[in-house]
């Protein structure tokens, strides 16, 4: 098996120590850091694919994300600065008043395994906070979750706030959560809506025209 395939396989199989050792060895042997990065992201994607096939669950996504982040931490210093800013950044959270986070957590983990750089603001996030964070990290996507009917209007208000601040064109906004539907997303001017966590990754990729 190719060295880089081994890295990918170790991440896919959630063998954290092995994956880290392989990444360190690859760097020491002078393998192109971009290729190492590809090995790491392929492993992360494989973890997400296994979730989609019901072979992995949330626990495995947690572990896969942790291993991937550690491996990325090892390889990133060896990449040119401009390369490290290439990952698409997503700012995500559950809206103000909403403390539900299982679905939002799933989306965050699957986006990470899909190659996105995710800034998870947690639950009960005020509209302005989404925008402040997106501005701070130079995000491309703002992803907003709402599980309750009475909290979903905060998604609309976040989009309105972006418009009022003259920042709407700067970001793609996607919404989701149990209280949302496609017609609702269209009515509030969201750029994308996902019915579930797996679909959210596809929507994010479509929005930025990338593989993440």
């Amino acid at each position: 098996m190719e060295f880089l395939e081994k890295i990918s396989k170790a991440i896919e199989e959630l063998k954290g120590e092995e994956a880290e050792t392989l990444v360190k060895e690859a760097i020491e042997k002078g393998i192109d850091p971009f290729k190492v990065l590809n090995g790491v992201t392929a492993g992360a994607r494989a973890v997400g694919d296994k979730f989609q096939r019901s072979e992995y669950f949330l626990l495995e996504l947690f572990e896969g994300a942790e291993i991937t982040e550690k491996c990325l931490g090892l390889v990133t210093p060896h990449l040119p600065r401009e390369a490290t800013t290439k990952r698409v950044k997503v700012v995500l959270g559950s809206v103000a008043g909403d403390l539900h986070d299982i679905g939002k957590n799933l989306v965050a983990l699957l986006l990470r395994s899909g190659g996105f750089e995710v800034y998870d603001l947690g639950v009960d996030v005020p509209c302005k906070r989404f925008i402040e964070e997106a501005e701070k990290v130079n995000a491309s996507i703002i992803a907003i979750s709402a599980l309750m009917y009475s909290t979903r209007l905060a998604q609309k208000e976040t989009i309105k706030l972006l418009e009022d601040l003259g920042l709407r064109s700067k970001y793609k906004v996607m919404i989701g959560g149990g209280a949302t539907t496609k017609p609702f997303a269209e009515s509030v001017g969201a750029d994308g809506w996902a019915e579930n966590a797996v679909e959210a990754v596809n929507v994010a990729k479509q929005l930025v025209g990338t593989e993440g």
């Binding site: 669950f57 626990l59 103000a96 909403d98 299982i102 009475s150 496609k182 609702f184 579930n196």
Partner: protein
């Protein structure tokens, strides 16, 4: 049992824990317990034998002892000890009466012993979105059903021109309007004192309390207060605040366990273990006397794998012989009203939950997929409560053995399972499309569909009156 003072103290001084670390520990432990106790459900036996249910109960107890619950605001873990939890289990009442006057109903822990012909309480309702113009007639269509002796509100989307927006005056107005409109629907149906489960339009404590604190609003005699945990095993102050308000004012707390299948829990087995742990945890701080069960399946809404959902409910009902607190099973059909499938979905579930010991069936309605995926308003009709109610009476009168009940459930599921697995839910019709709004009677089409299905169900052995 833990006092509110002790609970608050533990929430402020318990071990400071990273949420992700708590989640990981919970997920690992539930897997370990499922393995150690040999917990595996058999899809052909939706209602398990009692030894399996007891193993699930023990696993749930161990889970709570090991992981505790997580306080979202303080980021600390609240732990209980064995004595506290066992004392609570021992002292919980086996029955409780809610409602007023001739509309009073008594929730009893049903143990489903041979000869027990008690009928679960039927509380239909469409808990999702309903607009102001149809709200009262929609709820009246449930309340007026003869077998319906409870009622469940729908979320009020707006009232008097104000949208229901969390933490705004609109939320308060809508929560208060809901209570008055529900009472009006009950009055029009001739059941003014009917049990109404919990406020649905409120999000914040202020709105929940407002729904009770008004003339013509909800009353402690008829309605419960939401005090339940968030998934999985997490609580914010606002729920403790509501539990305290309920305790101080004699309102029966709403205890609810919606463990999600496909996320922290891999399957129905693990979700049921978490539901037991969650129940025990809630009874400690809210001193509840009823526990509601609601299934969510993250892999495609609530209905994609019916057997997972059905097994979770039936097993949970059986586990409660260990406390025993009456169980309120919240269930619905994925298919829309006025379809064959909505009848069969509701009948299969009614058989399983009646035969496994459910004390009450709440929020019964069709059109679940429309609720969640298509965002149609006003889905669900009183006919669905009729279907579940008449079936519950029939099944209870038959005093089915467990194996007979399982066989019947399998025969009914067979009629729609292929479509369900393929995600082919018929949309059906909305309330305004299949009810005459002047007479509040179902359409001939819907009545004919139900009559034909009943003939077939009678042929396979269900003895309708």
């Amino acid at each position: 049992m833990v006092s509110i003072k002790d609970f608050q103290e533990r929430a402020l001084t318990g071990p400071l824990t990273d949420k992700r670390a708590f989640d990981k520990k919970l997920m690992l432990k539930v897997r370990e317990l499922a393995k150690d106790y040999g917990i595996t459900f058999n899809p052909r036996e939706v209602i398990p034998d009692d030894s399996m249910a007891d193993a699930v109960f023990k696993a749930g107890f161990d889970l709570l002892m090991d992981v505790g619950i997580y306080h979202i605001d303080t980021e600390r873990v609240i732990m209980y000890n064995e004595k506290e939890v066992k004392d609570t289990m021992r002292t919980r009442p086996r029955e409780i009466t809610l409602g007023e006057g001739r509309d009073k109903v008594t929730f009893k822990s049903r143990q489903v012993v041979p000869g027990d012909k008690s009928v679960p309480i039927i509380a239909g309702g469409s808990p999702h979105l309903a607009t102001e113009d149809v709200y009262i007639p929609l709820m009246q269509s449930f309340a007026q059903e003869p077998t319906n002796n409870g009622l469940c509100p729908g979320v009020v989307t707006s009232a008097y021109g104000i949208e229901n927006r969390a933490r705004t005056p609109g939320e308060i107005i809508c929560a208060m309007a809901e209570a008055r409109w529900m009472k009006e629907a009950a009055r029009r149906a001739g059941k003014p004192g009917i049990y109404i489960d919990e406020p649905m339009s409120a999000t914040s404590p202020a709105a929940y309390i407002s729904a009770f604190s008004q003339p013509g609003g909800y009353k402690k005699e008829t309605t419960q207060m939401s005090t339940h945990l968030y998934g999985e095993m997490k609580i914010p102050w606002e729920r403790v605040v509501l539990a305290t308000y309920a305790l101080q004012n004699g309102i029966v707390p709403w205890t609810c366990c919606p463990a999600v299948i496909g996320a922290y829990c891999r399957n129905a087995e693990e979700a049921t273990i978490v539901n037991v742990a969650s129940t025990l945890a809630q009874l400690e701080y809210n001193r509840g006397s009823l526990v509601a069960l609601y299934t969510v399946n993250v892999r495609g809404g609530n209905y994609v794998y019916p057997r997972d959902n059905y097994m979770e409910y039936a097993t949970f009902n059986r586990t409660m012989r260990n406390i025993p607190v009456p169980v309120q099973d919240l269930f619905l059909a994925g298919a829309g009203p006025c379809t064959e499938m909505v009848v069969y979905e509701l009948v299969a579930q009614t058989i399983a939950y009646t035969a496994s010991g459910g004390a009450a069936f709440l929020e019964i309605h069709g059109g679940g997929v429309d609720d969640f995926k298509r965002g149609r308003l006003g889905v669900g009709t009183g006919m669905e409560a009729r279907i579940a109610g008449e079936t519950a009476h029939a099944v209870a009168s038959m005093s089915l053995t467990r194996s007979d009940a399982n066989e019947l459930v399998n025969m009914v599921i067979k009629r729609y399972e292929d479509d369900l697995i393929k995600d082919k839910y018929p949309t059906g019709k909305t309330f305004t499309e299949c009810y005459d709004l002047k007479t509040l009677t179902p359409s001939k089409e819907y009545l004919d569909i139900y009559a034909e299905a009943k003939r077939e169900l009678t042929d396979i052995g269900i003895k309708y009156e």
